[in-house]
């Protein structure tokens, strides 16, 4: 099995005239849940779009599952959830999944499994536009799970969800990772950090820390009981000083 699902060297992204990612080097291992944490506007979505191959203005080497990011062969192998739920509001949950399954050439039976995985069985025949924000983003997540992708890129998938459900989704991310999937989850909520195997802390287009939650706290000189938010602050203030 491939050790690293993603290998990136010297990644710079320019949007318009502004450089938003400044020469990043990192890897994302298969079989782990990697958290991409940072305040909103720091470049998390741009980074994720780059891995999926839909971002323009990219320089540097971005290798995803052994191929350059954006290669046509990768389109079957990456599950991607954008921040806004990208599903059709005027179709039901089941119709949305049936449509994307046909586009991906995935067996229709799989739609049932992914609807179960995101706990929307009771709402499967409801039109997405009538669902709550959290249910809608779960419908979008279900689409990303179709076709058992090797890399899951999830842009803030747990925002606004009920804590019980959030717990369930994180358990699912870890189950998928245990099966060998590389899972990259972004969040601007620092309290989700502890749920990740590994963290990339981001601020203003650069990583300020990269490691397990414990390693990052140690680097910041804090004990295990401290939270990542404190570590984030300590690192940022330490750099500023």
């Amino acid at each position: 099995m491939m050790k690293n699902a993603v290998e990136v060297a010297g990644l710079t992204v320019v949007r318009g005239r502004r450089e938003v990612l400044h020469g990043l080097d990192f890897t994302i291992p298969a079989g782990q849940v990697t958290g991409l944490l940072g305040p909103s506007g720091c470049g998390k979505s741009t980074l994720m779009r780059t891995l999926v191959g839909v971002q323009a203005g990219v320089t540097g080497t971005v290798t995803v599952l052994g191929e350059p990011a954006g290669s046509p062969v990768l389109r079957h192998r990456i599950g991607y959830v954008t921040q806004a739920p990208s599903v059709y509001d005027d179709l039901s949950v089941a119709e949305n999944l049936a449509f994307f399954a046909r586009v991906l050439g995935v067996d229709r039976r799989e739609t049932r499994q992914v609807i179960e995985a995101v706990d929307l069985v009771d709402h499967a025949d409801q039109v997405v536009g009538r669902l709550s924000g959290g249910q809608r983003s779960r419908a979008s997540l279900a689409v990303a799970l179709l076709g058992s992708p090797s890399l899951l890129v999830l842009d803030e998938p747990t925002v606004g969800l009920d804590p019980v459900l959030r717990e369930d989704l994180w358990a699912m991310f870890h189950r998928l990772a245990d099966g060998g999937v590389a899972v990259l989850v972004s969040s601007h909520v620092m309290d989700e950090a502890e749920r990740c195997d590994r963290l990339l802390l981001m601020r203003d287009g650069v990583f300020i820390a990269d490691g397990t939650p414990t390693e990052i706290k140690e680097k910041a000189g804090l004990d295990r009981a401290a939270d990542i938010e404190q570590a984030f602050l300590t690192i940022v203030r330490g750099e500023a000083a």
Binding site: R75, A84, S86, V87, Y88, D90, L91, E95, V103
Partner: protein, 245 residues
């Protein structure tokens, strides 16, 4: 391009339309109401004004309606993130375009069939040529409208802007297509302009079918409309970028 994906998109667009009863009713009933209004306007007047103007109107409906519907729906796909998701999947750009063209072409066929049946059956519009060919012209027209709508949706940031493109791109074609002033007697410059506008050919084809049983001119006009539709789709494909800022 992959037929499975193209058809999946066409079927999905049709399901969405079916869900939207109001839009569907407007698309199918409105052309019939408007053509009846035109007939009523001329009912007490001598001459064959309805026979002269009716075919032009039949050519215009599918064009205008599909232009609006396509520009708004594709804009929605662009801004809602579903287009980005599809482009990150194994979907070809042509799958997307032809999927839309097939779905709206079908709707246009039904829409035109209803309007033509009403005009010929109840309102006594005289058609010398084959009636089915009238519907073929209408479908080509609808695909043309879709293609242009798709193209302009790339230049609009909001649905409000997309709707504003209608008067800019469609009304000049309506004015110059020969309905108000026969194209031959337009000032030279405008005559040339009307020669390069695709709706002129659609209206010519419709008008020809009302007057004559020969069809070779109709097929020639139809070929021009189809060529414009293909060019529009190609331009539309150019505006679908997998990578965006």
């Amino acid at each position: 391009m992959n037929p499975r994906i193209t058809l999946a998109i066409a079927a999905r667009v049709l399901t969405q339309l079916r869900r939207d009863h109001r839009t569907l009713a407007i698309m199918l009933v409105l052309p019939c109401l408007l053509i009846s209004l035109l007939w009523w306007m001329f009912e007490d007047l001598p001459g064959d004004s309805f026979d002269r103007l009716g075919p032009g109107l039949l050519a215009m409906f599918p064009f205008i309606v599909m232009f609006l519907v396509t520009s708004v729906t594709t804009l929605r796909e662009r801004s809602g993130g579903t287009l980005e998701r599809l482009l990150a999947m194994p979907m070809g750009k042509l799958d997307f375009l032809f999927g839309y063209a097939i779905a709206f072409g079908l709707v246009a066929a039904v829409q035109s069939a209803a309007a033509v049946a009403l005009s010929v059956g109840l309102l006594d519009l005289t058609i010398e040529g084959p009636v089915w060919l009238l519907t073929v012209v209408a479908v080509a027209d609808a695909v043309l409208g879709s293609a242009l709508g798709l193209f302009v949706s790339a230049f609009a940031q909001t649905e409000f802007q997309a709707v504003q493109f209608m008067p800019a791109l469609v009304i000049p074609q309506i004015l110059l297509c020969g309905l108000f002033v026969p194209r031959a007697v337009l000032p030279d410059v405008l005559n040339v302009v009307s020669d390069v506008l695709p709706l002129s050919y659609a209206v010519d084809a419709m008008a020809h079918l009302t007057r004559s049983t020969t069809t070779s001119d109709v097929w020639a006009d139809l070929a021009v409309v189809a060529a414009y539709a293909v060019a529009g789709l190609a331009l539309g494909a150019g505006t679908l970028r997998r990578r965006s800022e």
